[in-house]
């Protein structure tokens, strides 16, 4: 049961997200009936699921919201921003109820009641006066003004109805809640006692219902069973006023003979019924029939087919996926060591097997990686709400644009990217986009734009957050950094170098601290989070024009292509993604800068570090050294090593807690021969070199 509850929670969360997204869309297109239907259906599903898994409070709550949206659907209530606000608030509340069932029940109920009261205020007069909690009251409030229609409903559930957890009695009760009516149960399908299976449903029902609601309301009642059941809904009469006595009379008649024909039933009402055959409308609850219906029913079907598409997949816990990735990682290591052994012994017989294994492993690895990839769009849509709420509270007008939401990224990365992105977006809203009046003064449109774009660039994925706000002032940043002691005041820096200063710990330009941003734990945390994911973050900004922050992230964690390099017998790996160029390195040729660790390559001046010195590695200098040029954080750096061994696929392992704080090393990997090689963090290497050189120069 635990599992099911987890599944339920997951599903409800998805539904909530869906509702939120839909609501925000609805805000832009309040007349879109499809969207209204979507909200209604999501609420309905939540209600059904909630009741099934014992979340009765959620079920009751969503039922009431559903009722409200039913009114919207019927055109009795218009979509207003208050309604959307309130529904969003309700979504938050449902989320809370979902996460902490049983906690603070009293308080929760209070909040629920409060939200419902607010809803009631929005409803047309009559409903407002009545108790908002009693949904049936809400529904009936509109009944009196509307025309009554008489429906004849045949409901023949499948034998295995109970297996899906459906209680037909509840369905019938819900049906009768729509209006006034009578239910006749048919037991003629009951088998002899010896064949009777108590887990099967042998009954079927005929319901005669008089309601002011249209046929859709009736169909909605059967929403969970319509696929398997035989459901016929016939309109007997579109006007008329039926008293309880009428129903009793019909019921009596029906009891006497089970097999009343449609016509006979109609005749029972004949005093008030006109020529039925003319307006006989028949709706069969089967899907095929549904699809034939035109107009907005199409969208419903679309959703149905979407749902069935989703169910063709399976849900797997990410823990299992992690295990799979780990195992595949081990396999990759073992396979590469096998290949090395075979090559060493050059046994053609085994070589074939090894090659085959290599092929299979590569395939397995690719699929294992792919399984974990999900579109970043799932992350983006979360931010609509954030931007909406925040821009309102700050009195700014902001439009949020997405691009490349279909770009795929490892789930772990997406999960861990949430917070940094929230921070960046908040920054853009809070510090980037100016208030509408100031924007107008500066000749910009009142409405600011924040764009979140994702695209693949080589083996990496770049996520960009840009705004057309006021941009950053390099002078101010430099002064600020100097004031905070992050950089020496007199240190000459290029604009892009200065902008990178915002990622330094302790740097926060917010002049006043708000709850939005500016707690000083800002961009450095963003950078740390991104770097933990083996990504990099860069910033571009033009004063008065806007700021763009780019996060460059690896497609996946765990397995990367690495360049194995060797210095003094020790091996290191540099992620291929940062390597730009490799060449031989002859120090004597570097005549231009004899005493400097810089060299000129194709007209570009590039600083370099010697790994041997940097890591205090001993050993003899080889006659020819090699230079690897890495490009990271918008900077090029040469790394001088003894040898370049070649490109390998490597599995990244953590160095563990003990070595957590080692700088310049981002992890380790096991090479084909079983030895451990350390993975270099080029960005950090640059940083350390800068720091040390600066300290050294100060002492001159």
């Amino acid at each position: 049961m635990e599992n099911f509850i987890e599944l339920y929670k997951e599903e409800t969360k998805e539904l909530l997200n869906d509702v939120q997204d839909t609501l925000l869309e609805l805000e832009e297109r309040p007349d879109d009936r499809d969207l209204i239907d979507r909200v209604f259906r999501a609420m309905h599903n939540m209600k059904g699921n909630g009741a099934m898994f014992g979340f009765d409070n959620i079920s009751a709550f969503t039922h009431d919201i559903e009722t409200v949206y039913d009114k919207v659907r019927d055109g009795e209530l218009a979509i207003t921003s208050e309604l959307i606000n309130l529904t969003l608030e309700a979504c938050d509340q449902i989320n809370l109820m979902l996460l902490k069932p049983g906690a603070d029940l009293g308080k929760q109920q209070e909040k629920v009641d409060q939200i419902l009261r607010e809803f009631a205020k929005l409803l047309p007069d009559k409903a407002g006066k009545k108790s908002p909690q009693k949904s049936t009251v809400l529904q009936k409030s509109g009944v009196e003004e509307k025309k009554q229609t008489l429906y004849l409903i045949h409901f023949v559930p499948p034998h295995d109805l109970f297996l899906s957890g459906t209680n037909p009695v509840l369905l019938l009760r819900e049906l009768l809640d729509l209006g006034q009516g009578t239910v006749i149960a048919h037991n003629d399908k009951l088998p002899p006692f010896s064949e009777f299976d108590p887990q099967k449903c042998y009954l079927y029902w005929t319901i005669i219902l008089s309601t002011s609601r249209d046929i859709r309301a009736i169909q909605d009642v059967f929403i969970f069973v319509e696929d398997e059941s035989e459901i016929q809904i016939k309109e007997i009469s579109s006007h008329g006023d039926f008293s309880a006595a009428d129903f009793d009379r019909v019921k009596e008649k029906l009891k006497q003979s089970d097999q009343l024909s449609f016509k006979e039933i109609c005749q029972l009402f004949d005093a008030k019924v006109e020529e039925i055959s003319l307006q006989e409308k028949e709706i069969i609850g089967k899907k095929a029939a549904l699809q034939q219906k035109e107009g907005k029913k199409d969208s419903v079907d679309k959703r149905h087919s979407q749902e069935s598409e989703q169910t063709s997949g399976i849900r797997v816990s990410s823990e299992k996926l992690d295990n799979l990735i780990n195992l595949v990682g081990e396999l990759v290591t073992i396979q590469s060591s096998l290949t090395q052994q075979v090559l060493k012994n050059s046994d053609s017989q085994y070589l074939l097997i090894a090659e085959e294994l290599e092929r299979l492993t590569a395939g397995l690895r690719d699929i294992a990686m792919e399984i974990r990839l999900i579109p970043v769009g799932t992350l983006f849509s979360k931010y609509r709400r954030l931007v909406r709420d925040l821009s309102r509270s700050l009195g700014k007008e902001i439009k949020l644009e997405f691009e490349g939401g279909e770009t795929e990224l490892d789930k772990t990365i997406i999960d861990r990217l949430g917070d940094p992105l929230v921070h960046l977006i908040r920054n853009s809203i809070d510090h980037g986009i100016e208030p509408p009046e100031i924007r107008e003064q500066n000749g910009k449109p009142r409405q600011g734009t924040i764009r979140i774009a994702a695209f693949q660039s080589g083996a990496d994925v770049t996520i960009q957050i840009s705004d057309d706000g006021k941009g950053m002032d390099p002078k101010m940043i430099h002064a600020r950094a100097a004031e905070k002691g992050l950089v020496p005041e007199n240190m000459p820096m290029s604009t892009s170098e200065i902008l990178q200063l915002i990622f330094k710990p302790g740097f926060s330009t917010a002049e006043k601290v708000s709850d939005v941003s500016g707690r000083g734990v800002g961009m450095d945390v963003v950078r740390k989070n991104v770097e933990d994911l083996r990504g990099t973050v860069t910033v571009e900004s033009q004063l008065g024009k806007g700021t763009t922050i780019s996060l460059r992230l690896p497609l996946t964690l765990g397995i990367i292509d690495g360049l194995v390099i060797k210095t003094g017998g020790e091996r290191f790996v540099l992620p291929i993604s940062v390597v730009q160029d490799c060449q031989e390195f002859h120090i004597q040729e570097n005549v231009q800068f004899k005493h400097r660790d810089i060299l000129e390559i194709r007209g570009e001046v590039i600083p370099f570090i010697r790994l041997r010195e940097h890591f205090s590695i001993g050993g003899k200098l080889p006659p020819i050294e090699h230079l690897v040029i890495a490009f990271v954080n918008d900077q090029k750096i040469g790394i001088v090593v003894d040898e370049i061994e070649g490109e390998h696929q490597i599995v990244i392992k953590s160095l563990g807690k003990l070595y957590r704080r080692v700088e310049g090393i981002s992890g380790a990997t096991i090479l084909g021969n079983g030895a451990v090689a350390l993975i270099l963090d080029a960005g950090k290497l640059i940083e350390i070199a800068e720091r040390e050189e600066f300290a050294a120069v100060q002492n001159l």
Binding site: K657, L658, R660, R661, G664
Partner: protein, 175 residues
């Protein structure tokens, strides 16, 4: 310092560091390996010798001799790595400890273990669980969790030139 901690008799793995006998409680010991190739991690204290590949897992290796202010453990016919599982600040961690030689597994009664003398061992007293007199030789029973607390081990330097690292390693060892 909790000299009364051991109430029941327990097994200890004894090993040698510079001709002195030390002991670890056996329940923390996972296995004993040959002294194999260790991959050095640059810019870290010397007593943290580096990492090895233990069946696909990266395991850090600690040189207790360096930590205790002695000279570096060298590879000999008898030297080996003792793999231990310890609880480090609430997190289970596997690490390897270098030893000149591993001797035997012995059973000690609580009364056989004396509290560590405050002076004379030249070690931080909290590293020592006690001193046992076993068949005529003294065995220093080490308090593993104490030696390997994060504070002791996470001394990773910012500027890690060799000289500095050594001095700091010594400081923690001798004090």
């Amino acid at each position: 310092m909790d000299e009364n901690q051991t109430i029941t008799s327990a097994h200890y793995l004894t090993f040698e560091l510079d001709q002195e006998q030390y002991g670890f409680e056996i329940e923390n010991v996972q296995s004993v390996l040959d002294f194999e190739q260790i991959t050095r991690v640059p810019r870290t204290p010397d007593f943290m010798r580096g990492v090895i590949n233990l069946r696909g897992k990266i395991v850090p290796i600690i040189d207790l001799r360096l930590k205790f202010g002695l000279s570096e453990t060298v590879k000999t016919r008898e030297s080996c790595i003792i793999i231990v599982n310890i609880d480090m600040n609430g997190e289970k961690t596997t690490l390897g400890v270098l030893a000149d030689a591993v001797r035997e597994v012995i059973l000690l009664e609580p009364e056989q273990i004396e509290p560590a003398p405050k002076i004379g061992t030249h070690l931080k007293t909290e590293f020592i669980k006690g001193v046992a007199n076993y068949q005529g030789s003294l065995i220093i029973i080490l308090e593993m969790e104490k030696i390997f607390t994060t504070n002791e081990l996470l001394l990773v330097h910012k500027s890690g030139s060799g000289v500095e690292t050594e001095s700091e390693a010594e400081v923690t060892a001798v004090s």
